[in-house]
Symmetry: C2
Subunit: 432 residues, 2 copies
């Protein structure tokens, strides 16, 4: 590119119609001129060849992505080894781009192709790049339904206000037939869970068919609700081939499921959007596959971007890697994802963030402190179903821990009078 | 885990029914005992809690993933910096696991959840891991349709045998309305392309609607076929929301598209499988998003795995990052992906590998030499549509280069008598 070519991919924000562009934040490391690398980044993801041979035309004014902001600092070398990088001084660069969404429209696959595609990861001179964040104008957001229930709707269904929502992953996660699976789910709901959920690995298996499981867990939820006076939800995992999602929605809901779990990336965000158009119950996201592109700080896609897209696709709650070394996610990134669920997003309702990973009554106070509010879900597995006193005691220990926190009493002190909590702290207190 | 726990996740291959397991190859780096890390890897992706509290049971014999092979070598430190890794000697480890596919069944989303999910990327002690390969038993493969046409079917449709298939990406990729877009597509097909294709970023855009585009390009393909005596195909990009794929298939095919392009990961492999059940024309995969998890050698998912899954989902051809520094993919990895398209895979037909990236008549001989055979697609963009003589000359230059190669004549020597080829070598010969 010559200097004029490069300049054609830069713009001032005030010269662009904000409703016509999404904004993208990238961090990248390049060899050579950072401005040229940024121009290539724009070109490759929009008008890679902006005129026909022999025709005097230029598609950039309408169709090009543009650099709005750039900040480059030289580095001695790339942060991690890269193959075949071009020669030239290495720079660490932050850019904000404006990308004209009219190039692809309000469609999730086409959006992903534009912002996570060949035009991002195959840019001359940029071997390391990470999409950090994405922002949408209101007119783009208006084309999406977003969550049907959101946090307020979930709370109403559960009659649970002013506190976290207590999920529990029924364990053993794989292998139990429906009857004993429902029995331990019942015990945990009777003990205090709001929502007993399938593991993300348990779907419509021949040895634990969804129809039978939903019927038994639905009955268990009703029984636990009658006994406790609190509404209960069985959250059924309907992750399956795309053409089975709507039939399995209907099957699970008809049998007694009160919400549905979908593994967002494996199924595909667009399939979730399709399901959202049909769904009559809350949809909950689980996170398989996300870490494969979101874990490393120098490369890939920040998990906050995926959180935003899951909210856009219509999830009422988003289960995400939570706090502590077990989930290998920096605390700041967990908080970024939580904010991406909660902060204003045009017409799109907030989703409930559910940061998870080896939680129990012993970790609730820490998680609550880090989240800094009650709008979150808490999702132990073994912390409930591996509790030494069994699932009911495990669930009780969560509620006892919360009662202590809500009363401003140290959880450890409250344990003296509550054996389930004491047992949880003894069994799980050494973790994370 | 104690020694007995760890041993429960190891097995000898001859003690397992091969038809009941998929095999997975992983490379990982761990801190601490490699055998314990490998056992955790199995546990986390299958029976994370293998018994109920207070019940004498063990779900591992039927449901656990097992280590079949392990090879560990100590290292001074991790290959790249990792946060919060556990203490202990670092090892670089290769393992082959047997994972019981009855846990999830022949469903792509559930397969992805098992082999690229929480149980792979959140394993205690394993901060760096890459899924290297996957192998399926015949009984699992038999549940999938795979490609409908495959390489042989594509060749029959094009009456093109004993040579590569010549694709071209119509450029400018974004911005042209249907009429001029079809005109340059026609020129390139008349000049010698087998298949004129949409860019992966061009879908059903208001400024270039798919229906009008397919009608004009379909007519252009028929006209070019009549004039050249060779069948021609317009390859239309129908990447869109999942619930639009089948309607857009019908629309594009009815209007004149002879094959359909789908951005596999953005749409989702399961949606592709759904489309395959309906499709009457060849399906071609493009690779946006794949690099976000496949690029780095220490982490993520090897692109060969995705190639296999795209073939399984039903793609007749797989466009993939090709040779040369421009596409930032090691040559061995490109060859791995090509083999994954071609090698035996139970009842599943081969897919045509289409390694691409800044190709032209100047790179054909090198690509052919590396592939080592004629069963590949060649997919220039600017090498045809940015040729100084225009698209017809660009396409001619490809065929001239192939005629030289087929005749055993050096391409550069053949250029003396063929001005289109000479112009291509002059314009593009310095690249890659």
């Amino acid at each position: 590119m010559n200097a004029d070519d490069i300049a054609g991919f830069f713009a001032r924000r005030q010269d662009l119609d904000p409703e016509s562009y999404i904004e993208l934040d990238f961090a990248f490391e390049c060899a050579g001129d950072p401005r040229e690398a940024a121009a290539h980044l724009c070109s490759e993801q929009s008008t890679a060849q902006w005129r026909r041979v022999g025709v005097d035309e230029d598609f950039r004014p309408r169709f090009a992505a543009r650099v709005l902001e750039i900040d480059a600092a030289p580095r001695k070398e790339f942060s991690i080894p890269v193959d075949g990088a071009a020669a030239g001084t290495v720079h660490a660069v932050r850019v904000t781009l404006a990308h004209p969404h009219g190039n692809f429209g309000p469609r999730l696959p086409n959006l992903l192709s534009a912002v996570c595609g060949e035009g991002v990861f195959f840019v001359p001179g940029i071997p390391l790049i990470r999409l950090l964040d994405i922002r949408f104008p209101a007119s783009f957001l208006a084309a999406f339904q977003g969550p049907r229930f959101g946090i307020a709707g979930l709370r109403e269904r559960l009659n649970a206000f002013g506190r976290p929502i207590f999920f529990g992953v029924i364990k053993p996660n794989i292998g139990l037939p429906p009857e004993p699976f429902a029995e331990i789910g019942y015990q945990a709901m009777a003990g205090g869970l709001d929502i007993a959920k399938d593991d993300e690995m348990l779907a419509d298996a021949p040895w634990c068919p969804l129809a039978a499981r939903a019927a038994l867990l639905g009955a268990a939820a009703r029984r636990a609700a009658e006994e406790t006076g609190e509404p209960k939800i069985y959250l059924a995992n309907i992750t399956d081939e795309v053409d089975r999602l709507i039939p399995l929605h209907d099957l699970a809901v008809a049998n007694g499921a009160g919400a549905l779990l979908v593994n967002a990336m494996p199924v595909g965000l667009s399939a979730v959007r399709m399901l959202r158009g049909h769904a009559t119950v809350p949809l909950i996201a689980h996170f398989p596959f996300v870490a494969s592109f979101a874990r490393l700080p120098w490369y890939g896609v920040h998990s906050r971007v995926l959180t935003r897209l899951q909210r856009l696709a219509g999830f009422d709650a988003v289960i995400m890697p939570g706090f502590g070394p077990r989930m290998m996610t920096p605390e700041a990134e967990v908080l970024d994802c939580i904010r991406a669920c909660l902060e204003p997003m045009g017409s799109i309702l907030p989703s409930l963030p559910v940061p998870g990973g080896s939680d129990s009554a012993a970790t609730l106070e820490r998680v609550y402190g880090k989240v800094g509010g009650v709008d979150f879900g808490f999702v132990p597995g073994r912390g409930v179903f591996g509790h030494p006193g069994g699932p009911a005691a495990g669930a009780k220990s969560l509620r006892q821990a919360w009662d202590a926190i809500a009363a401003g009493v140290p959880v450890a002190r409250r344990a003296a009078a509550h054996p389930e909590l004491a047992a949880a702290l003894a069994a799980f207190g050494g973790r994370g």
